[in-house]
Symmetry: C2
Subunit: 309 residues, 2 copies
């Protein structure tokens, strides 16, 4: 098996592109694709400060390294953010891994502790009657936005891969969620109170981030979140992987046809208004934002807030 | 395991409805659902003649029997149609099975031979540079429409199940096929030259037709079409089955959310015009219909028709 670029021994075989590459040329290929994604969706502009959200897993660690290598070409400044969600026996490890990566690259960073806001994901799992993954997702979006603004960042970059993007898309298709179909995008421009959000790996299959991290010898954690067994996204990813295995390239096709054709059609006529949360002042689609509702419920303020919303 | 209706021994367990039923009450459940589907979409009206397309497989044989048992209640008259596609070592068997079912029920029928129109699916597989399943699908739609009209039928009923419906839907989502998303429906009313088409099993999972046919001891063929190994629909069905296994009921959710929300949004602004084929006069979306193009190509008239279309 020979590298298509240099003829040296290939270590990677990409079925979707019918491409074999050696380690060096795979790394180039990977980073060029990140650059192309950033450019295609206008995610970053020169002079911007980019808050890179790192969970310590292969995806966000690969993103951090790729953006760090591309930072001069893009003309951007990076700042790292990692959120200690307060998941016992799990958060300590990934926060440590994230910090190790920030320090190794000399990227300034902030560790945000959910506990400082009055609760943890362990509390939410135990006491809120909601799927914990949806609570966690809302909490991360909230804190990343708030902290990025505090850090003076213009955009939050997350490690969501093609597989993450498509598993949300497939769920939206199956649920007929027109609002999600209208606004699910690799890049969301800044809106009133919302820092821009970019997914520079939206065109990168998850399997490639693992390869990238291994070839570069990056330090990342493979430990699964103790609540991840309940994550439905894994089922949707498995269904998509089954199709990809039999039809290499189908994931890219699904992304392109959605963004180029389905979304423009569905989005015509949609549009939910953003308000401000009456408790914390952050952007919210309801009178009191989800984050404040979680917090109030966990503080035992059920009734008052339930009435207020 | 007890039947929820009568408390007798259950032989069927329907995960999607968390329901256990004995044979007798499963059959009632199955036929009531067919009736409900027919009524919900306004598929059949009293006094109509219904051409039931039977391929000899579990789905179409079950459809034939369910409609036969419901015919008085619906006030319709049935006529059977089976198409001999000219697939060696396969067509003989399923045509025989279809005829046996028609005769057992005393349903008048017509056997349509594709060879009488100048070619067979074996010819198409060998000589046309197109996936044979797509040729076969177009051929069946064409002939069913034409023959139904000749038989004075108001509607063609086919055995497409929930799984068939959703595998086409999933493909349409992945390909971003807005036209298909706009017009993929359990019931298509008659249009200029097109007999109405109904899928009375559109809300019936494929696994239930097998159960129904077995409980009633129906004669059907389990032989797979020799070309079916190439059918991509099987891959989409497998992906959906993986999701259904982990989330029972998700198939019904996908159907409803598509028909109630996604399709109305996507269909706004769509609409391709139907013309008449210049060769045979049948409805067609292009100047010469697919059927006539297949036929001409197989007769060696490549160039003339290629120019004409």
């Amino acid at each position: 098996m020979r590298c298509r670029v240099c003829g040296g021994e290939a270590v990677v075989r990409l079925e979707y592109a019918n491409l074999r590459l050696c380690g060096k040329h795979f790394v180039e290929f990977f980073e060029r694709r990140v650059l192309r994604t950033v450019e295609r969706y206008g995610m970053l502009r020169g002079g911007q400060r980019v808050a890179v959200a790192v969970s310590g897993g292969k995806d966000s660690v690969s993103l951090l390294h790729a953006l760090w290598k591309l930072r001069e070409r893009l003309g951007v400044e990076l700042v790292g953010v990692t959120i200690d969600l307060g998941i016992r026996g799990y958060s300590e490890e990934y926060v440590g891994v994230a910090v190790e990566n920030f320090e190794r690259l000399g990227v300034p960073y902030r560790v945000v502790r959910l506990a400082d806001y009055g609760f943890t994901i362990d509390d939410a799992a135990e006491r809120l009657r909601r799927p914990v993954c949806s609570v966690c997702g809302a909490v991360k979006r909230y804190l990343l936005n708030r902290v990025a603004r505090e850090l003076g960042a213009n955009v939050v970059a997350t490690g969501h891969t093609l597989d993450d993007f498509l598993s949300v898309l497939l769920q939206a298709y199956i649920r007929g969620d027109l609002e999600l179909l209208s606004k699910h995008k690799p890049y969301l421009p800044p809106a009133d109170g919302l820092v821009a959000r970019a997914k520079p790996l939206a065109e990168t299959p998850e399997s490639d981030t693992l390869t990238y991290a291994r070839i570069l010898g990056l330090r990342f954690t493979e430990r699964k979140c103790p609540y991840a067994g309940k994550a439905v996204s894994a089922d949707y990813k498995a269904a998509l992987n089954l199709l990809e295995e039999r039809h290499p390239g189908i994931k890219f096709q699904m992304l392109r046809s959605f963004l180029d054709r389905v979304q423009p059609r569905v989005a015509a006529g949609a549009g939910a208004e953003l308000k401000r949360c009456e408790v914390c002042g952050e952007p919210s689609s309801s009178r009191v934002c989800q984050f404040c509702r979680f917090r109030a419920q966990l503080a035992g303020e059920h009734l008052r807030l339930a009435r207020a919303t």
